[in-house]
């Protein structure tokens, strides 16, 4: 193939990209996390309420890589137009990943649903990646926040393509480091072995006797909810030693 242009050489000194400080470090951490999840058999769920085509682009990138010889990975688009929370709740399994391209509400009307999905990530046992631009979501809104400072929707849209291309490229680099595909030991903030657990759970059903069936990253379990105000199905609660010790819905509408 004839090339009339030499853009194939190594890139020069970086830094002329108008992305937010720390984006490339965040990309690196997200890529390693995704590689670990894929390695363990997880599926990647892709969504973008306002830019459906970005969700499709992310998924096709991972399923059918443009570079020959790279492995096909399980990535799926959440059906556009669906209730994002309900759709993912029904389909994701612990160990999966959710990658969303969206701004935050109110500038992106889909941002509120996205925030709800991300909040439920720990209860569903999924790793969450939020790619977006504009007003940055609050700290801890997702496991990985890959953010652009721009308010121009077209500039943001162009740079989202770069972000998920790089996410794919870096994820595949991680596969070459098989020793690093096992999770770090004791990377959880709370150590289960010393019983100081506080796990996020989503209420599935509430019994009359003060019990509830909840969903956590470890699966379904029955817990006591008599210590908190009666929760409703879909509420998030904090579970400690078989009891809900706090509702995570307070202050929320």
């Amino acid at each position: 193939m004839t090339l009339t242009h030499a853009d194939t050489g190594a890139a020069g000194a970086g830094g002329d990209g108008p992305y937010e400080q720390g984006l490339t470090e965040d990309l690196a951490r997200a890529a390693l996390a995704l590689a670990r999840r894929f390695h363990a058999g997880g599926t990647m769920w892709c969504a973008s309420p306002s830019w459906t085509f970005h969700a499709h682009h992310v998924a096709v990138e991972f399923v059918h890589p443009v570079i020959m010889g790279k492995r096909a990975l399980p990535a799926v688009v959440v059906p556009p137009g669906a209730d994002l929370v309900a759709s993912l709740r029904a389909t994701v399994r612990p160990g999966d990943m959710v990658v969303v391209v969206a701004g935050t509400a109110p500038s992106d009307p889909g941002g509120a649903d996205v925030a709800e999905v991300m909040r439920r990530g720990p209860a569903w046992g999924v790793e969450t990646v939020w790619i977006g631009a504009g007003t940055r979501p609050p700290a801890g809104a997702a496991d990985h926040v890959l953010w652009l400072g721009t308010d121009d929707p077209l500039v943001a849209s162009e740079q989202f393509v770069r972000i998920y291309h790089l996410l794919w490229e870096l994820t595949h680099v991680c596969f070459e480091h098989s020793g690093l595909l096992q999770p770090d030991l004791c990377e959880e903030e709370v150590c289960i072995t010393c019983s100081d657990e506080g796990r996020t759970a989503e209420v599935v059903a509430v019994d009359q006797g003060g019990d509830a069936v909840v969903r956590t990253a470890e699966g379904r379990e029955r817990i006591d909810v008599s210590l908190i105000d009666p929760p409703r199905p879909g509420d998030l609660v904090l579970v400690h030693a078989g009891s809900a010790i706090a509702s995570l819905e307070e202050g929320r509408s």
């Binding site: 020069g12 077209l154 162009e158």
Partner: protein
């Protein structure tokens, strides 16, 4: 074609590697370099295509003013770019919405045509059904060699449509296709970097049409 290997930066490391710190630093540095590369390619491409974009923008604006509509198509990642084209024209962040459609969104049509005839006609057959002399066909490819795009451009030309292509590498067969009136080429041999600059070209094209179309509307 030279593979854009992710292998070249990183030597094989034994399976007993446990410390992710150096890998994360390498990944971050690699991302930064690739970002800068992509940004340079975008700026070079937009500068090189500036006159071409103005010419195409004007030609497209005339078609829209005559009541024409735009049909966008491509395969894989380029199919998602076709959706991007349809979205930015119909739901623009500013300016006037213009009629545009992606030919990759109807799975009934795509599977019917693929099953009954073949994948080469999935776009041309739709243009046969919908396309008229005031309309615009925009086909996107990274290689410039997608057979179903070349077939579609021939069908579009036959129907008197304005034909616009976006390609990568040296433009491939699209650059040598007589039925394709305008071909914007991103001169790179990395599919990812080509698509990143094509996203910028799509938006630049939309912007060129908007300014030209508004100028006429105000007159």
């Amino acid at each position: 074609m030279s593979p854009e290997a992710t292998d070249f930066l990183y030597p094989f490391i034994e399976g007993d590697e446990r410390d992710s710190v150096s890998l994360l630093a390498d990944l971050s540095a690699s991302a930064e370099a690739k970002w800068a590369h992509s940004e340079r390619l975008r700026q070079e491409t937009l500068a090189r295509c500036d006159d071409q974009l103005a010419t195409i923008g004007e030609a497209m604006a005339r078609r829209f003013e005559a009541g024409g509509q735009l049909f966008a198509f491509g395969n894989g990642g380029s199919a998602t770019d076709a959706d991007d084209v349809a979205q930015v024209f119909t739901r623009p962040p500013r300016g006037e919405p213009l009629p545009a459609r992606s030919l990759v969104t109807d799975h009934a049509v795509l599977t019917a045509l693929s099953n009954d005839i073949g994948f080469d006609v999935v776009f041309s057959r739709q243009l046969e059904a919908h396309g008229g002399p005031d309309d615009i066909a925009v086909g996107l490819s990274t290689s410039g060699n997608s057979e179903n795009l070349l077939v579609a451009f021939r069908q579009a030309a036959k129907r008197g449509m304005l034909t616009v292509g976006l390609a990568g590498y040296d433009g491939g067969q699209m650059a040598r296709c007589d039925e394709l009136q305008h071909c914007l080429v991103v001169r790179s041999d990395s599919v990812h970097r080509i698509q990143e600059s094509q996203a910028a070209l799509i938006h630049a094209l939309w912007s060129a049409v908007q300014s030209e179309y508004q100028a006429k509307g105000a007159a």
